[in-house]
């Protein structure tokens, strides 16, 4: 997706999949709302900035746009398996060097009083385990390394 602006009034155009969308005039007000005129109709969006993302509410939808700092690239091809949220490791179900298949449970995490299973996203080999049973983990902590083919 490519985006560009036309000038001071923040009119916007967006190109997606080769198609051009013109989204009309947009006025960013000082508070947490943005008014957008689309096809002659004025509509309101709510915005808020958290530490690492812009949050937008528009037409009943909430969209979170993560701000990716320059120099950091998020990798989604194999690699590490991270804790989706803070919690405690209840059980480690695999060993280093073990071959696992897609969907296999690797580790059980307890968070918010519920058990969550961390599953293998692909077939591969466990090359490292970073926590033991009973350890507390923070959200985003790297739990294990999975080497995929």
């Amino acid at each position: 997706m490519e985006l560009s602006y036309l000038g001071e009034d923040l009119s916007g155009t967006i190109t997606r999949d080769g198609q051009l969308f013109i989204l009309g005039n947009m006025v960013a007000e000082v508070d947490n709302t943005v008014w957008i005129t689309i096809d002659g109709r004025r509509q309101q969006a709510h915005v808020a900035l958290s530490k690492d993302a812009w949050w937008v509410h528009f037409a009943g939808h909430t969209i979170r746009l993560d701000i990716v700092e320059a120099g950091f690239t998020a990798s989604d091809s194999g690699g590490g398996l991270t804790a989706p949220m803070p919690g405690k490791v209840l059980e480690v179900l695999v060993k280093t060097g073990q071959n696992v298949t897609e969907g296999q449970a690797l580790l059980v995490l307890e968070a918010m009083k519920m058990e969550h299973r961390i599953l293998a996203p692909k077939d591969g080999e466990i090359t490292a385990i970073h926590f033991n049973t009973g350890d507390q983990v923070t959200g985003g902590a790297l739990l294990l390394d999975l080497q995929t083919e």
């Binding site: 960013a28 949050w55 937008v56 509410h57 909430t62 969209i63 918010m112």
Partner: protein, 497 residues
């Protein structure tokens, strides 16, 4: 009349009870853990006491400390809300033995209903139909043997259980050992009791529950049903009254069965008898909850009865004030959770940067949070209950859809959009709701329908806000000052809350 009620709970239900106390001219005492200081319920209460300790066991589950505080502040009664100590008979006993009024049923009734295996036996004796299954005395091997007798698919349930904890659906014998171990472990962690029993899984059934009120003057009445069929992993998501599945005849039969269940344990107070209703129209006792329930507002809106106020009256030894059952219109409650429905409903955390609740006719919001609060992993991820009332079911769904569209929560991922799409689903509109419908409709998980220009607008709005300097302290607006507007678009990546 009660004079000063200590609320042994937190969050939205503490707020609900404090408000009922205020309306009744009763003083309220809030107790809270250190990590709840400044929470909404502590601001509403007349007297606030901080609990010592860090864990839930040391704070909200610490009956000794709670009773000591109640005596210290000269409270005359304790309301347990739901969850926490609400169904702990030993707590109820300790409260009563400390010369305090327990706002709930007798410890004996809690014991007889609280242990699911005991309840099944009591109900059989009272001729209330129970789900085919096996009570299990023993450990893992006995559970596996009982499972073979009941047949598959089946449900493993913690005898001390509730809220879907310690529960597992098992579809084939290969999975039973691992599932039983998981259920036992979760039961042990959640309830300190790892006994698990086996029930046949009645798929395609509806979850119907009957609200009961009973006073100490011998009156036991039912207040109609709530249908709570739309569930996810046995957690209720969407609750309504009346149910499209109940004709007056069936309502009468189930109401009578619920009254019989309550009377079998000499129940006094507000309680709920849960049933499964099969597609063939047979109903089976599931369990009785001997407390006020999360979804009680649904009944309040269609019957006009203030259930918490009645609890306060009944606990004081007065007669309940309700008339014979009258149901009017239709009410629906949805539970807003801090969770990510597009990522297997994983609980979410974050700051409530924006929290704008819907308003207008027929809308009720029960919540314990407001803008600026943080959602932490310390407690249950339920943020709020949104309840709507309208003259008909169709209008109630329309009102709910409108209210969910208006609801703005930014800074923490929620299930609002998921609930909103439920309102439009043909099966929900037709009232064709079953306890397995979420898994049936979205077997591969749910993602939001983003047709239209939602995403484009989101990028533009975020960029406009960024460019205007909004939200960034000390950063000047760059509007109108550059021909090459720096756009952060290339550095934004999308996620679906």
């Amino acid at each position: 009349m009660l004079k000063r009620v200590l609320i042994a709970n937190r969050g939205e239900i503490a707020c609900r009870i404090i408000r009922a106390c205020k309306e009744a001219g009763i003083e309220s005492v809030a107790i809270h853990a250190a990590n709840d200081s400044g929470a909404l319920f502590t601001e509403l209460a007349d007297i606030v006491v901080e609990l010592e300790g860090n864990t839930i066991a040391e704070t909200y589950l610490n009956s000794e400390q709670i009773i000591t505080i109640a005596k210290d502040v000269e409270a005359d009664s304790i309301h347990p809300g739901y969850g926490f100590l609400s169904e702990r008979a030993e707590f109820a006993t300790a409260v009563i033995e400390s010369d305090l009024i327990w706002i709930g049923p007798s410890p004996q009734a809690i014991i007889e209903m609280g242990d699911k295996m005991t309840a099944r036996r009591t109900m059989r004796a009272a001729e209330v139909p129970v789900i085919p299954g096996e009570e299990v005395e023993g450990g893992i091997e006995e559970i596996i043997a009982a499972a073979a007798k009941v047949g598959y698919p089946l449900l493993l349930k913690a005898s001390a259980g509730g809220g879907g904890k310690g529960m597992r659906a098992v579809h084939s014998p290969e999975d039973v050992r691992e599932a039983a171990e998981g259920a036992m472990r979760e039961a042990l962690n959640s309830f300190g009791d790892d006994r698990v029993y086996v029930e046949r899984l009645l798929s395609g059934s509806r979850h119907i529950e009957i609200q009961i009120l009973a006073d100490s003057h011998g009156n036991t009445i039912h207040l109609g049903e709530r249908e709570c069929s739309i569930q996810r992993r046995h957690q209720k998501v969407f609750e309504e009254s009346p149910s499209v599945a109940l004709e007056p005849d069936l309502r009468q039969q189930m109401g009578d069965a619920a009254i019989a269940a309550a009377e079998a344990v000499s129940f006094v107070g507000a309680g709920t008898v849960e049933f499964l209703l099969t597609p063939q129209g047979e109903f089976f006792f599931l369990e009785m909850n001997t407390r006020i329930q999360v979804e009680h507002p649904v009944t309040e809106l269609v019957t006009g009865v203030d259930l918490v106020r009645e609890q306060l009256r009944i606990a004081a030894g007065e007669e309940m004030s309700c008339e014979e059952l009258q149901m009017r219109g239709h009410a629906i409650e949805v539970r807003l959770y801090a969770e990510d429905p597009s990522n297997n409903f994983l609980p979410a955390i974050g700051d409530l940067l924006t929290f704008i609740a819907p308003q207008g006719p027929g809308i009720r919001l029960d919540t314990g949070v407001r803008q600026g609060d943080a959602v932490t992993p310390d407690y249950d991820p339920m943020l709020a209950k949104l309840i709507v009332w309208a003259p008909s079911r169709q209008e109630a769904l329309q009102r709910l859809a409108r209210a969910l569209d208006e609801f703005v929560i930014l800074g923490c991922t929620t299930n609002i959009r998921f609930l909103r799409e439920l309102c439009d689903h043909p099966d929900v509109i037709d009232g064709w709701t079953t306890t397995d419908m979420i898994e049936r409709l979205w077997p591969d998980g749910w993602t939001p329908d983003m047709t239209g220009r939602i995403l484009e607008v989101a990028y533009l709005a975020a960029n406009a806000a960024e460019a205007s300097g909004y939200g960034r302290k000390g950063k000047q607006s760059i509007i109108g000052n550059s021909s090459e507007l720096e756009t952060p678009f290339a550095t934004l990546s999308r996620r679906y809350p």
